[in-house]
């Protein structure tokens, strides 16, 4: 995936300003002070916002301005900073939503219920359960429980699992450790590491404030400030970068 001078204006504010970005088979950390445009950047890539100008290219295809559901279908999945699961649905239903973009049955097949439609559902359920087992085996037995009945860390896990169950090529994680304590942070980081082990081809963009997280899982770090990209290097080099220190700590 790459972007070419990606820009979005909200009124007079350039939230993301001519960002050139590229990712290929790696884990990239996205850093920046509050309000620097990190989440807006993810919203642009996942199709929630339409860019004012610039291009987004994914697997040699221009996807600029495509709807969010089209982009998901092409293999870009994301999680949200504030946990966004469907609260009145069960764990398994939330997981099944992650496979929606992969489904082959149409609405009239849902009414007529031919054999392949039922088979698809059973296969999807099995796939969701296997992934849940991978993250936390306890969740498999609770699959019918409402999502509101489980702990925050498990909700975070389910959100990540929902994003990767459809085997996306690019995963966008928006602050996966927000609101978790240090022990839970370690667990989530382990889980994210497991995703890379399980699927070598998946690339990730992670927004994170915790430098330990960034240093332990990212191959490369991109720093945004006031919508502009100010650095793009390894973690060690970024730490020495004066511009980054100024942006974070003030002149």
């Amino acid at each position: 995936m790459q972007t070419e001078s990606l820009t979005i204006n909200f009124g007079g504010l350039k939230a993301v300003d001519e960002v050139d970005f590229a990712i290929a088979d790696e884990v990239v950390g996205l850093l920046g002070p509050n309000g620097s445009g990190k989440t807006t950047f993810l919203n642009l890539v996942s199709g929630i916002y339409r860019p004012t100008s610039g291009k987004i290219i994914f697997q040699q295809e221009d996807i600029t301005g495509s709807g969010a559901h089209v982009i998901r279908g092409k293999g870009i999945a994301r999680t949200f900073q504030t946990n966004r699961l469907c609260l009145n649905l069960s764990i398994i239903d939330n997981m099944l939503l992650g496979l929606y973009s992969k489904k082959k049955s149409t609405w009239w097949q849902a009414i007529l219920q031919p054999k392949q439609c039922r088979k698809e559902l059973r296969q999807n359920i099995e796939k969701c359960l296997q992934l849940l087992e991978h993250f936390n085996p306890d969740l498999v037995d609770k699959a019918y429980d409402p999502i509101t009945s489980i702990a925050l860390i498990d909700r975070r896990r389910i959100e990540i699992a929902r994003a990767i169950v459809g085997n996306p090529r690019l995963l966008l994680l928006d602050e996966p450790t927000a609101g978790l304590n240090s022990e839970e942070t370690t667990q989530i980081i382990n889980d994210i590491g497991k995703i890379r082990q399980g699927d070598q081809q998946i690339c990730m963009i992670i927004i994170e404030h915790d430098m330990n997280v960034i240093s332990s899982i990212c191959n490369r770090v991109v720093v945004l400030n006031a919508g502009k990209k100010i650095a793009d290097d390894t973690y060690q080099e970024i730490c020495k970068n004066e511009q980054v220190q100024t942006a974070y700590l003030g002149g």
Partner: protein, 392 residues
Amino acid sequence: MQRAAFASKNSLVTLLVSVLACVFLYFALVGSLFVALTVIGLGLALIVFGEYMGKAEAIHTAFGEHRILGIAVLIMFVLTLPFLLKGNNYLLHIVVMGGIYSVVALGLNFQMGSTGMVNFATAAFFGTGAYTSALLVTKFSISPWLGTVSGLAAAAFLGLLFGIPALKTRGYYLSLVTMALQVIFTLMIINTSWLGGPNGVPGIPAYNIAGFSFKTSVVLFGMKLPYQANYYYLVFAILGLAVLVAGRLYNSHVGLAWNAIEQDEIVAVTQGINQTKIKLLAFALGAAFAGLAGALYGHYTSFIGVENFDFSISLIFICMVLLGGMDNVLGVVLGAMLLTIVDEKLRDFADYRMLMYSLILIIILLARSQGLLPKRIRKYGKLRDSKIEPNF
């Protein structure tokens, strides 16, 4: 040994609850206003008490395990009801109207219960079906069956057409737009003379099969049944089909997508749900249900007028879904049946009828704001089945 005992207990629970439900419905129907209200109050108290004691989930599970048994009891009840009512044509008429309204409410539930789009134009879709079929049959003398299918198609088409601009808005604004459609529909009918204007469309022919008109009474098992019984069996066959379709949609990816849209549109689209398409589907399918019911209504009553399809009727449909239980197929049918029965029983109150009607609604919703049978967690049966290979 123990497992067998447990299984039989669950089947007993299913049998007991479904028979009880049928008995309650029967007495609510045949009794006077006082009896009907007592029965409904008792039923309500049982539901609230059951939930309070934590038995509701167990009953739900029991029904899940012995669905066939529950369905069999209901079908037996539906089949024998005309005989139980001893061919009373007034009571049969109430049940037929309840069946017709249930189909409409099931359609509205796709929009309101599943997707969270409160549609105030259901009566307009109901009317579209009724007028299309009635006019085609009276003016071009086509078969009423064909007219009914046209009514369904016309309503679905209107739903689709109307959905395209309406879906630019959300929430309250969407509801406002649907109110506008309802007002336009009523005014258009009143002011268009070839649609019957304020006089309505009289003399709509009844259905017939191979020369047998549905307006003739029949003798079945030695009992003379009024012509309403023909319509009763027709309407309940269609209602059964509607329940089947609605239940399957609810348990499929379509129902799931509708629920996701209702919860959080941003999350839904980032899971790959095409929200325009799935919302239009809710509109078109809901309208199709309403159109089918409308056509049935026209051929049953043989007269339709604009007052059968105005804004207040739309409100009643909304109350049915709200009272029965949003996004619960059986709940919606129960809500529609009960409100139709209550509405008829309140005829004694003449001018105070709507006042009483609203009062009963308020009391029920105070006691149970989530509706009589609220939304439940979707069940897919036993989850782990060793025979199934996941498809990676």
